[in-house]
Subunit: 359 residues, 2 copies
Amino acid sequence: MSPKIPKTMKALVLEEFGKPVQLKEIPVPKPRYNEVLIKIEYAPLNPMDLSFLKGSYSSVKKLPVTPGFEGSGTVVASGGGLYGWSLIGKRVAVYVQRSPHGCYAEYAVTNAFQCITVPETVSFENAASGLVNPLTVVMMHKKTLKKKAKAIISNPGASAVGRMIYRYFTANGIKVINIVRRQEQVDLLKKEENAEYVLNSSDPNFQKDLNQLSKKLGATVSFDAVGGSLCAVILNNMPDGSSTYVYGNLSMKNSEASQNDLIFKHKKIKGFWLVDWMKKTSVLENYFLSKKLGSMYNNIMATSFARKYPLNQIEEACRFYLKNMTEGKILLSPSAIEISEINDKKINEQCAQQIQPRL
Amino acid sequence: MSPKIPKTMKALVLEEFGKPVQLKEIPVPKPRYNEVLIKIEYAPLNPMDLSFLKGSYSSVKKLPVTPGFEGSGTVVASGGGLYGWSLIGKRVAVYVQRSPHGCYAEYAVTNAFQCITVPETVSFENAASGLVNPLTVVMMHKKTLKKKAKAIISNPGASAVGRMIYRYFTANGIKVINIVRRQEQVDLLKKEENAEYVLNSSDPNFQKDLNQLSKKLGATVSFDAVGGSLCAVILNNMPDGSSTYVYGNLSMKNSEASQNDLIFKHKKIKGFWLVDWMKKTSVLENYFLSKKLGSMYNNIMATSFARKYPLNQIEEACRFYLKNMTEGKILLSPSAIEISEINDKKINEQCAQQIQPRL
């Protein structure tokens, strides 16, 4: 290991699911073969992190553990293996799938193939949400191609993932009908993303408009992270044989579908999970895919951020995040001393200029 | 044609979807090649008939039409073809899929292969619901074998189809967890069907009991005609990877499933429609299948009936049926002059003696 690496570090440690995490001084972990050590700059709070902390996420790690599934930073050491060695000194976005040394710490350990190198033009902030959401969107696009849909419906259209879906699909020639629930969100998507199809579910003509538009564009696939009865309304207004893929639960209500659609219209409602799709993709394919992503963090795969929090204020960060989910992601920063706002207006302007949707 | 067949007949005629049907005197239809003419004794009101009358059923026939998808009677003429000819004089249960001459009339026309001959020991009443429900149950069993489930969950367990499901699956070595919502229904299924596993969804321990039982028995498939949140509760208490097949909509609410089950537990919720399954089955297979059914109408495939109505009282019959769906099926009879009760207690007693569930 390089001499610059200290012996101990600050890290959040979870000792019992559902209990508060503790900020501790613990030994800097040593990467094993094919693993790398990353000096962390930023790590976002994702819904999957919140579920993990409560113990309700699908994959449970052995305790004690440092949480934080993804983040950004610089590779400072390798545990062996050519690819890991080649990453030393590189700026990366990382995903910590199995290792107990997650991103809510000064240093994290993960498999070298779960690092994406990012160009100098991409800030560590913009690289921090570099894997979970962008890969989800890429896998959704693969699913859509497999289903031969000419257009998709995306609900909610104005969330971080919703906006990535819009940009990535549009840039790849697939039209997107964005569903939002407030007029401000219609205006936002039209102005900032140059979106052509935005429907407000609170509009009295919503169902009629959706029905016509989905038939006109051939939107036979929808991606839904809202759930509840709106999920059934959307599927009901799609062509016969359409499929809804559920990837989240923002309404905290069950996903719904009408029996008429399920039985007689051959419509389907299914779960969509990144991890399942990753399993179906070869390691090499994933590798080349991830290489493509690094250059997209400033535009197609850009995320809006709201605030930075120091590690010891994670409780407060979670509370703020749960109350203000649409304002942007929350970043934890091992070097931050106090809470600060993040102004990503510049990123969005830059983004809007670079994307020329092919419609 | 035989000289006994009159030139005209009484028939209910639907001239516009959603409008009342009219009792008319119309010409007795002539069967075409491979079709037969049946003198109808009884025809049940099925949910699919009610949907058809409203114009909301999936298959729409050209108007004017005589409704009534199934019934019982005697074949009195053939339009040609060896099999149709062989049926002349036979007592049959029939399904009228495409022909405009349905069973709510003195005579109906259908394809000869949609007739099931029934033995003398089976009354015309018991043969009247001979195809739709029994074939649905047989196709469900095929689906269950394909999914390699050792046990299934059936909701509602106390309906006409629910009881057929219980008897047919049990007789074929697959255990059934029956879901009901009242204590009387628990008692009924235990007493009349000798059912071992009956859970009351109103019971405070329902979820815990269902969870344990479904895991113990390996119930990885459920058939649901209720919908609503109970549908999600049942799926939630089944093993990972389980599937719910939706075949009805008694609660008039959407079918629900939790995102956690759909995304992370790989559980599925799908529509199940007899017609889709029939299409996947060869004509020959269907033929041999239907030959087996004739002997089951007094026991495994027995239906409970509540009342007989003359044709001209169909409006009143529909009203009664919608209010009293669990009391038993309603039969329309071209020869009936007034409404009468049907006492099928004897059938049930006979049935309970004949079925010895292999548990």
